[in-house]
Structures are given as C-alpha cells and as structure tokens.
Amino acid sequence: MQELRKQGLTRRALLSRAVAAGALAVTGAGFIAAPNGAWAVEVRNVTEQQMATLLQMARDIYPHDRIGDRFYAVAIKGYDSPEQAQMVAAGIEALDAAAREAGFDSYLGAGWEADRVAILRSIEESDFFQTVRGGLVTGLYNQKDVWPIFGYEGESFSQGGYMYRGFDDIDWL
C-alpha cells in the first residue's frame, strides 16, 4: 500500500472537515480518506470530489463487497496526474450530466448502486468509461494483496509447487 499515505488524523478531525460523499470522506484538504482515518489518498491534480467520484465508479464497475476501498483507491490513484486531469474533469462532468438527466444531483448523489449502474450504462461507450474500466482490469485484479480475498494463492514454485500441498485434495466429489 505504498501509494497510500497514512494520515495521522483523528476520526473527529476528518469527519468535521468532510463533505459527505458515499462511504468516503472528501476533506477538501488535498486528500480523500476513509471516514475512520484508516487510509487516505492525496490529490494534487484533480479535485477531491473527482477522486471520490472515480473511486465510487471503480466500486460500481467491479463491485466486490469483500474488497475494501483502499484497494480501489490504489487502482485509480494514477489518474491524479497533470496528463490525466483534463480527461478526468471532462469525463466526470459528462458522468454528472448523465446523473442529472436521470434525476440525481450528481453521480455520487445517487444512493443506490442500481441507480449509479444505470447512469454508468448510459456512458459506457465513452472513452472515459472504457479507460477507467480497462485500467481497473490490471489496476485492481493484479494487486497481489487482493488475491487472497479470492482464495488465489499466486506464486507456488518457491514452495515446491502443490505436489505435497494439495494439488488433488478435493474431498467432496
């Protein structure tokens, strides 16, 4: 998790500065963070609101209820760059416009996943959506720390393979 800066912030300090945005805290202080202060992502080139929107988008595109926000945050952190800022701003503007057409204040303002997914479906042909979705395929699923959540064991050669570690241990057939 080296991409995430651990913040020495108290829960109260965070919450007091937070603007509600789904499960996230958008602090307005140059980073977004978990409400309990467990992790935070610094933003320099995009706004806190934009990063929070990207994070919710990532969750809605590939929702895994046992995978915490911090893994999604790692996957989208790269959009906070001078090269990507314009693409992100324009993409989220279009996303929020689609949300308003669907009767919500913004994408983040839609409380139910099904509503947000419907908004995403309406823009899924856009370059912005496809860029974010495509990036997540490796950005999320190639994080070694998420593999155990799926039960996947990764590298095995250094442990001698599975010859003596259960390659044929299925017991329910």
């Binding site: 699923y141 593999w147 064991e153 990764g154 393979g161 599975y162 329910w172 057939l173």
Partner: protein, 524 residues
C-alpha cells in the same frame, strides 16, 4: 555452450532458420545433429527456467509477442484485444515456453478433410498431401523426443482437483474417453529434467523444466554439436533472392538495430502463422511482386485458430483449479467426425485454469458489474475447461500487410478472422456439453467463455499436392522456390481437432531428414 558455433555472415553454406519454436527450434537441432551447419535467427531474447516468473502479467511482459499487429473481421478478439490477436511467445524456444504440453496425434481421417467431410460451402477444404501411415514413424520420434506421457514407458500424470471434477462430470454424462492425456510433461525424471511438481503456471514457462520446451532441450543440444549458432534479438526483415529465383540469404536487424545480411544455402521460415506469411509478403520483389512463394495467391490465406472457447463451472465447495498442471486432462468422446451433431469435424475438451489476473481479463472481456464480479468472487470454487476443435479454412481469413509499421519500419501483419457457420455450430455444441459436464457435478452456475487471443495459429502457408492450391509441398518446401522452406504451423492444410505442437514437431523432424538427404544428394 563452449562449443556453440559462430558462422560468418558471408558463409553461404549454412541453412538459415527464422524462428526457434516447435518448428524452427526442432529443425535446427535435428539438422545440427546430422552435421548440417545452421544459423537460427530469433527475434526474441533467451530465457531459461530460472528466469521464468510465476506471475501472469509479469510473465506476459517477459515472454509474449507484443510487437504491433492489427486485426479485422467479426471475431471478438478484434474488438476486445485489437492489437493482440495471438497469445504467443517472442523468445528462444518460441511458444514452446508457453504451451500447456498436450501432445496428441491427428486422427486418421483428419489428414483427408476434404475427402472425409466433402465440400463445405464457404470453406477452402483440402486434403493434406501426406497421410496417417506416412506420419506414424515421425509421430513416434516426436513423442520420444518430448517424453509424452502414455507413450513408450512414460506413465500418465496424476490428476489434480480441476481434473477430478472434469473426469467425474465426463463419466456422469456418459463419456468414456477421459484421462490425464498425452502430455509433454515429465511424469518421471527424464532427459535430465525432473518430473512435474504440480506447480501450475505451465503457461508462464515451467520453472522445473518438467514440460518440454525447445528453449532448454533442442536448442542447447543443437548448440552442443558445434553446428548450430542461435542469434537472439535478430529480427528478420526480408528474404533475398537471385536472378534465378533462388533465395540467397536474409536481411535482419541485429540486437543493436543494425541491418545485417546473412547468406544462406537454404532458408526455412518458422516464425509462426502471422510472422511467416508477413515475411514472405514483405519480401516482395520485381521478380515476385506478390511476395515470395506466392504464385498461388495462398500466402497468408486460410488462417485457422481452432474453434475454441472455455467453460467454467462454479460449485458449492472449493475446487482450487489453479493447483497443479494447467492442462491436466482431456475428454475425446467428441473428437470424431459425426455430422449428425450439425457440423463437420470434432473437438477435444481439455482442462484449463487461469489465475485471478488473467481470469479478470479473459472471462468476459469488456464485461462489468455484478454479473461479472459475482462470478470472480467464486474463483476458489471454479473448475475450468477449454474447447479445441477443428475450424474451417476460409480464403478470406487471412494475414495481410497492414499500413501500420513496427519499430524497424516494416509493415506489420493484419489478421482478419470471422467464424464459419460450422465453427459456430461446433462451439455451441461444445458449450452445451461442457456445461452439462459441470452441471452433472452440481455446478450452481456455468460460464460459456469466449475465445482468448489465439495460441493455435495455423494455415497461412498451407501444404498442398498441387502448386496452385497452396504454398508448400509435402516436405514444407515452397512450390515456387526450391531452397525456401516453411517449418511451422503455417504449413497446416487443415487444423484437425488436436493441439498442434506434436504435429509441428513431427513435421520438423521429417523435414530435417528430407533436407539433409537432399543436401547430400546435391539437390539442394
């Protein structure tokens, strides 16, 4: 290899082989063993078991051919992976580092597809100019070389968890031809390589060397004769010829990017089914304006990729399919020809597994939302199989030169593919059977998964009796140019239902025998 040869660029007595995989790597060693001097030019680098990586994307970055290619046609790969029509390897040893090891012979009738199936509308079917009896001894040599299980004295491999689900399901639906198959994976220590340790990651290069790969068998053995020089990072640009229409050598970019010319007595092209026709087409000259060996107009045509697809099943309890041999077993009950099923030709079902990173990329490319992620959430409880069936050669499925150029300024291959109705009917049949197998074992959900970027790439320089029907004769020698050969899977007249490597190896051993004999006789 202290004894590895070094030949002069001007030495026109050498056989130049382009590519070092199942075709080129084996041909190089077989010729070297017979005392023929060989220069093998390999576009990729040299990696050995200690270099291979048990990590799907990292390994892909190390081994895969990711130079630009373009795609067209209605296959889904052209939409989902437009720059990656194939998942094959750019390295010494070629795709034998990546292959899963399945080593099965063609069925007798598959050498004679046109005769057996009859004309199929829209298909460019043809009989091979060789047959089952002629190939039998070469298959025997290939099986011995590769240490194929259940041939000679090699026992079968043990079945892993994925196989056990597959086998039980096969028997439950009434299949009987199910086993851990014929694999070029050591079931016992052999050829100074250890037995399989059930590590998984067969696609990423076997770190034990238990799976046969030319990279650490035929290549070093050939080099040890003193007759073989392998130049890696050598990207061939063009094959040159003289006024008599005989090839004289090849131009290639060396590891420093400098253009070199290597003279040759014979040139053998073995760059796999995209690069081989690309090279012949890029070698067009005033004498051969349509490309070398292309008087038939068949260079690049009849591209086949096998009718593939996968089926994954999700069960109530864990399977952990990734543990052990990736391709751990085979069902052959649907491999025969039986047009009552609604298609000609047959298909094999073989176990397969992907890790989480590749499962996310390939399960249903482009898909998102809970339908997709709820399947991945059950990864631990998944079993998987792959479909390998005979697809129809079509003249319009072809490799042509793209307007895109590579870093050397050479036009890259455009790969055009659309399914034939026979391919679609076969795939749908296989999807149904695969799902039935898993449902019989209590699967709560089954996933008929689209084909991945192709690993079986066949047919773009096909073998034919008559010069007007194909590119090479029964020896892989081009009809048009006597000292120009094709030595890879692009020779395939038709694809058969079987994984192609064993047949590519058998053809290469046979071709080496022919070339050495013709050289001795002064005919080449």
């Amino acid at each position: 290899m202290a004894t590895a040869a070094k030949f002069e660029l001007t030495d026109d007595s050498v056989v130049v082989i382009i590519g070092t995989g199942a075709g080129g790597g084996v041909l190089a060693n077989e010729l070297a063993q017979k005392g023929v001097k060989v220069v093998a030019l390999e576009a990729g680098g040299r990696y050995l078991p200690e270099d291979y990586i048990n990590d799907e994307w990292e390994s892909f970055g190390q081994l895969a051919w990711t130079d630009p290619r373009t795609t067209s046609g209605d296959w889904r790969v052209a939409r989902d992976f437009s720059g990656l029509p194939a998942w094959i390897v750019k390295a010494v040893g070629g795709t034998t580092t990546h292959w899963a090891g399945a080593s099965i012979r063609f069925q007798e009738h598959e050498w004679k597809a046109l005769t057996t199936y009859g004309a199929v509308e829209g298909a460019n079917l043809l009989d091979w100019p060789i047959d089952h009896a002629e190939m039998a001894p070469w298959y025997e040599k290939a099986e011995a070389k590769l240490g194929v299980t259940r041939t000679g004295n090699f026992p079968g491999l043990p079945g892993n968890n994925n196989y056990k689900v597959f086998e039980a399901g096969a028997k439950a639906v009434g299949y009987s031809r199910v086993s851990t198959g014929h694999m070029a994976i050591n079931s016992v220590d052999n050829d100074e390589r250890p037995a399989c340790q059930q590590t998984g990651f067969c696609f990423q290069g076997c770190k034990w060397g238990a799976k046969w790969s030319a990279a650490y068998t035929d290549i070093p053995k050939g080099e040890a004769t003193g007759n073989l020089e392998v130049r890696d990072h050598a990207h061939v640009a063009r094959i040159l010829h003289n006024d008599e229409g005989r090839v004289t050598g090849v131009e290639y970019f060396d590891k420093d990017g400098n253009l070199q010319f290597q003279a040759a007595r014979i040139v053998a092209v073995a760059g796999n089914t995209f690069e081989s026709p690309r090279l012949l087409l890029n070698s067009a000259s005033s004498m051969f304006p349509d490309g070398l060996a292309n008087s038939s107009g068949q260079v690049g045509r009849n591209y086949m990729r096998h009718t593939t697809g996968s089926v994954y099943g999700i069960f109530e309890k864990p399977v952990r399919m990734w543990r052990g041999t990736t391709m751990a077993g085979i069902i052959q009950d649907e491999a025969h020809h039986d047009p009552s099923r609604g298609f000609v030709g047959g298909y094999e079902l073989e176990t397969l597994s992907l890790g989480i990173p590749f499962m996310a990329a390939f399960l249903d490319p482009g898909s998102w939302g809970r339908e997709f992620t709820s399947a991945l959430d059950q990864y631990e409880n998944m079993a998987g199989m792959w479909i390998v069936g005979e697809d129809m050669p079509q003249e319009t499925n072809r490799v042509t030169l793209s307007d895109t150029v590579d870093k050397f300024g050479l036009k890259v291959a455009n790969v055009h593919f659309s399914d034939h109705p026979n391919d679609v009917a076969m795939r749908n049949h296989a999807y149904e059977r695969g799902q039935a197998i898993y449902r019989a074992m209590g699967a709560t959900r089954t996933l008929p998964t689209p084909p991945y970027p192709s690993t079986h790439n066949l047919g773009t320089n096909r073998m034919s009796e008559r010069a007007e029907d194909g590119v090479v004769n029964k020896w892989g020698q081009t009809h048009d140019i006597a000292n120009l050969f094709v030595s890879d899977g692009s020779q395939f007249t038709t694809g058969a239902a079987e994984n192609p490597t064993l047949t590519i190896v058998a053809l290469a051993i046979r071709q080496a025998d022919h070339i050495a004999r013709e050289m001795s006789a002064g005919n080449l």
